[in-house]
Symmetry: C2
Subunit: 412 residues, 2 copies
């Protein structure tokens, strides 16, 4: 054989430096990672609802369950229950058989399937290529999925004012108003970003006027407010207004099953016949990408969602996590108040859910990394769950010092 | 909202009529499906090695294992052991760090990842578009994966003479000799298709001369001859000859874990630096498609492959299945001999493994479906494991009648 590789031209993909990597390599004993992907307990361990642990054990001992291939669209009891959880059991779209879920390989699989499908089939009857709007916070992580799927016109939007440290609904609405008719708007974590129902109503009205297509992504239903229905308010409003939409749904965080890759892609359309056509296309797409979805995680979730008793127990677990998150938010704000840290820290408790804008400048974040060994997400958000009783004081003092140091710097 | 869907133009994908569907809908009490995807026991149930059952239980009770995300390339202990199993622990390619596996979402995920990667990066420094050769038997199932990944010049090859009912190595070699230099040749189930080592040597020499790129697909290592090393002979020969290649590996059949989606994509290239570049590209591809691989199945397989005692037990299980398959082949041939069925049925025992050419004409297959409620794979192969002591007589008699009926037809 020749000695030259046929892959001579394959370039190395340089790994973007992610905080998790820096954190891992940092030998400092007090290092803190505020950029955990998942939900942590106060002991700094991965959180998993007790009911899930129990059912995992039960499934492994159940002789009636086999390990055969699932149907291509997945476990119906799972996709049906997951879809009901998101858009509501009483949703007209469900009753009219024009909404349905597709069991995907994780939340990422749902995003990929949706992105590929839209790239192939979304015909807004307007200008092409279709513009796609993504929140600045998701620019890197989710933007790349749409880019690889074939979207060429990807644009950022913002809903957060980093100076006032509040939701900037005007900025968001202006972007929507200026968007080309028929654009796609990716709405990440509607349960967490903090828009009020009236604000969502205005967003929906603006999007309806401009015939914008919503693609939701729900990863933490129940972990933002502690109430499953309240966290689904925005999605349900859009469905109620008669939008056609996609919604990627992930259960990794809410069930603590990150390694089980259980996702659901909800399609809401105008009628049952269109839904069947769309599902048939998605089925073909999936058959070439991964064949079938996996079963274990979906079995656990289906069991919990379809049993009133288990559902009740899971809801309680979610509420306990949310209470812990709210308490940490309060405690951190209180600590900063006691330390006399300059600035208002109201935004800490005004937001809800796991992910939060911490409200620090780039140089303050840099200070935390460089001198305090504290690592945030790339988009300067933090995962509130990563703060616990062991590191709370250290985190608060470090933020205090970062603010003082960089304020002094600004004065010099 | 308007009432017109933006998805008006999405066409319905008509499901190809697959034997499994006809079988399910057939109410006949004696119906037989000879087109099972997986391995069946004599009781007609899905086969799973006892050691796998035990480890599944053990893992579910292990408090030290969490459900956090895996690294993007997967569990190293799994991909390493899987790659060693395929190309051999002592392989120079492994010792020189120029071979390595990527943990994929099932065997289909490995095929998809490989197909997409080759479509993007295979630069044979010859004519484009690259021609891709696929065995006729895999035309529908695997051809569609390469088609969706972007290959436009897909061509069939044949290695089986349906008249003589033997391997037709001349036909296969001729196709390879006529192939454009630098084409890709997809080699499905090298362990099962029945080429002898000398024949593989000739295939490799021909491919080397024409600089053809091999993409292997191994789904049943250990289930063809009962010997893991013997079943990997062809792949190891190509690696030994210094080929760069891909090999998709699936453990669904050999571990009975169809619902766990555990695949591995082996890359063998010229040097470690090229391997790193290729893996970095694959890592990016995977991050947009499914994020991370799942853990449970890979944990089971890693535990078995890395423990001499468990490995021994698993090998014994495989050998028992192979013995059962060989016995069924013998019994079916014997039954047809006793019935005096016209024709030679030597090909039944000359082949090995689960999948087999049954050697019937289209009208004979049609007869089996229409009058005998017996369903084969679309490519007229059968899964030998689907024959058991309950249906063996019925299957043999039906084949006998099919042959007689259609021979009479030919006379009229």
């Amino acid at each position: 054989m020749g000695t030259l590789s046929v892959f001579l031209d394959v370039p190395l993909v340089k790994r973007t430096d992610i905080p998790q990597d820096f954190y891992k390599e940092d030998p400092h004993p007090q290092k803190v990672l505020l950029g955990h992907a998942g939900c942590q307990t106060d002991a700094g361990e991965a959180w998993i609802p007790p009911v899930v642990q129990r059912i995992l054990l039960q499934i492994s001992q159940d002789p009636t369950l086999d390990h055969e291939y699932l149907p291509q669209l997945g476990i119906y009891e799972y996709t049906r229950a997951a879809t009901e959880l998101a858009i509501g059991k009483e949703s007209h779209a469900l009753l009219e058989n024009r909404a349905g879920g597709v069991h995907t390989v994780g939340g990422t699989g749902a995003l990929w399937l949706g992105a590929e499908f839209l790239c192939r089939w979304y015909k807004p009857r307007f200008a092409t290529p279709t513009a796609l709007y993504i929140a600045k916070t998701q620019w890197d992580s989710i933007g790349s999925i749409f880019h690889v799927a074939g979207f060429t016109d990807i644009r950022p939007y913002d809903y957060w004012n980093p100076v006032k440290l509040t939701i900037d609904i005007e900025e968001f609405l202006q972007t929507l108003q200026k968007a080309p008719t028929g654009s796609i708007v990716f709405l990440h974590a509607p349960e967490e970003i903090g828009l009020k129902p009236q604000e969502w109503e205005t967003v929906a009205a603006t999007m309806e006027k401009k015939q914008l297509f919503p693609f939701f992504n729900i990863e933490s239903q129940g972990l933002a407010s502690g109430n499953l229905d309240r966290d689904a308010w925005a999605l349900r409003h859009f469905v109620g207004q008669g939008f056609e939409l996609l919604c990627a749904q992930s259960f990794s965080k809410t069930f603590g099953l990150y390694d089980e890759l259980v996702g659901n892609l909800i399609v809401v359309t105008k009628n049952n016949e269109t839904l069947i056509r769309i599902h048939s296309q998605m089925e073909r797409q999936m058959s070439t990408m991964w064949g079938w979805p996996g079963s274990l995680g979906a079995r656990v979730i289906a069991m919990v969602l379809n049993s009133p008793a288990l559902l009740y127990e899971w809801k309680l677990s979610l509420r306990m996590v949310v209470e812990r998150i709210m308490l940490i938010r309060e405690k951190l704000k209180e600590q900063l108040r006691i330390l006399g840290t300059p600035g208002s820290w109201e935004h800490l408790t005004a937001q809800s859910g796991m992910c939060s804008f911490i409200g620090l400048s780039s140089s303050q974040v840099e200070f935390l990394v460089k001198y305090k060994h504290i690592y945030l997400f790339e988009n300067k958000q933090i995962n509130i769950c990563s703060i616990n009783s062991k590191n709370l004081d250290y985190v608060a003092r470090s933020i205090h010092e970062a603010v003082l140091a960089t304020t002094l710097e600004d004065w010099n």
